[in-house]
Amino acid sequence: MAASPRSIAWQRRRRALAQAWAQYRQHLPGMIGLVVLVAIVAMALLAPVISNPDELHVVNTVDNPRWATPSEFPLLGTDNYGRSVWAQFVWGARISLLVGLAATLVAVVIGSLVGIGAGFYRGVGSAILQRLTEWFLVIPFLPLAIVLASILGPSVENLIIVIGITSWPSTARLVRAQVLTLKERAYVERSRALGASNRHLMGRHIFPNVSPIILANLTLTVPIAILSETTLSFLGLGDPTRASWGKMLEESFKAGALSRGAWWYYLPPGLGIMAVVLAFTLIGTALEEILDPRLREQRR
């Protein structure tokens, strides 16, 4: 044998990844989503370069015109405090994306662990996890999030926690359903017949076959988390010291931008959120189609 079997396995995995990417490239909606996302992420990362962070703080903008239109004050005009809307937009993108991604990570990690545990094990432990999942699912998101956010206090970190805690049940449900099916597969029983422990079964057979679903679910949870952040910030529960799109909407609303016709203040964050949510949704849908193991096995 020229190469070790392990390296051969890695070669195969790389090739499978390349194949998946080639498939993805052909998926037009998925590609559109990817391009939009990349553009927005690039914009957020380049924030210090493409905007002036000083323009975010009221103390620095005392001399700026108030409610300036985009033609008067590039690129997106000013708000009622003279702050640059463009700077808020670009730096706000960072917070929206950050909270969205971090909260999703928290939610998916909790949800996956609970889902795998509830699906794989039988008995009291599993029943407790299931009831917990159902309880969280039943409680309406917004009141719970508001209560938690009020208790914990307004900050980016707490927002991540709040959204993470309220979003994990749907992942758990999905993962559990998949694990229940996988558990019955003959190769799981074969592994057991070879003497495998539960840990080996979960790590070697259940988890790798559940991870595509988790990945697709992750990409579809991010937009939900971003929207949640927007909502909570809009309600005034977000971090008051950091710009975010939700906060922009809140402040524009409070300042009467709507009746003033100051569209440059509320339209960009609204459109930005829509674009990000749409991008993730398109990507998630494309991933689901590509990673669906049933389609995979049929592809002979």
Binding site: A9, A186, Y187, L194, G195
Partner: protein, 321 residues
């Protein structure tokens, strides 16, 4: 070393039914598997043969009785089961389902070695097992995935995965029924070679009497959770004694000399096992009045019975014998 490799004593396995009743899938089985033989466990669906096989593997726990391996009853704690599974291995019905689609052939065969933490050169043992299972040269197959193999090749991989542990007993649950008919003989031939070359003992579970004729030394016929007849394969198939075995043989298209006795209805499910001899509601002897003529009809209806000798090495559970 005793002649008996594994036996079950009074084994009973029960499952809860959907509405609270109990399904007695295995209802008192004393099975003896001798070293170096091929024993066929034959019966129709619902007779409990697969449950019996899985209980022998330790994948199900008996409600009563015990499985005795090399004179020692098996226990169900992890400490006992892991080494036990190094010695008693299983071949599954559907080779495509039995292999993780994300694992290469190498990984599938090596899995047992890694779980059992057996020492030695893993790569060499995997290649050796594949070669013994007829996949030559083994190097060609190591990096392939299950969907790239034919049905017969997949089953060979499963067999290699079992044999790599050098088990003493191989439990094969319908090993060829999901394979194309023209390919089955190859796998059966392999199994006989394993017995001859590796000295493994095989318990094959099947509904196919033709398969038993093809490769079995002894046959045990199951009906509704019990063994109703057992004996040497040739003897049992040429001189079946139990009315169920006789009926079964008579309808197998591969048997020509017997007059067909098609039983009515289907076997009742294991939650409603008849009283007395569990076969009596469908037994041709009862239906034709023969049982009455022999004066045993009462006993057929009300007296349960165990296997008794009807010829050398040949036992059956029938009041008429």
């Amino acid at each position: 070393m005793s002649d008996i490799l594994l036996e079950t004593r009074g084994l009973a396995v029960r499952f809860p039914g959907r509405h609270g009743e109990i399904a007695r899938a295995v209802d008192g089985v004393d099975l003896v598997v001798r070293r170096g033989e091929v024993l066929a466990l034959v019966g129709e669906s619902g007779c409990g043969k697969t449950t019996l096989a899985r209980t022998i593997m330790g994948l199900e726990r008996p409600a009563e009785g015990e499985v005795v391996y090399e004179g020692e009853p098996i226990r169900y704690d992890a400490g006992f089961l892991r080494p036990y599974r190094g010695k008693v291995q299983m071949v599954f019905q559907d080779p495509l389902g039995a292999l993780n689609p994300r694992q290469t052939v190498y990984e599938a065969v090596a899995e047992g070695l890694r779980i059992q933490k057996l020492p030695g050169d893993e790569a060499m043992r995997v290649a050796d097992a594949l070669a013994r299972a007829g996949l030559r040269p083994p190097g060609r197959f190591l990096r392939l995935y299950p969907y790239e193999l034919s049905g017969g090749q997949r089953q060979r991989v499963v067999i290699a995965g079992a044999m790599v542990l050098n088990p003493t007993l191989l439990v094969a649950d319908e090993p060829v029924s999901s394979l194309d008919a023209s390919v089955r003989g190859e796998i059966l031939k392999l199994m006989l070679e394993l017995v001859r070359d590796a000295g493994v003992t095989i318990l094959v579970v099947t509904h196919d009497l033709g398969l038993a004729w093809n490769i079995a030394d002894r046959i045990a016929v199951m009906y509704l959770g019990r063994i109703v007849e057992e004996g040497p394969a040739e003897e049992l198939l040429s001189h079946p004694r139990h009315p169920y075995t006789r009926a079964l043989l008579s309808v197998v298209p591969e048997v020509e000399e017997m007059e067909q006795q098609i039983l009515q209805g289907e076997a009742p499910d294991p939650t409603r096992i008849p009283s007395g001899c569990r076969f009596h509601p469908r037994c041709p002897l009862v239906a034709s009045g023969e049982a009455a003529r022999l004066g045993i009809e009462e006993r057929c209806r009300y007296d349960d019975l165990a296997l008794h000798d009807v010829a050398p090495e040949h036992r059956a559970a029938c009041h008429a014998l």
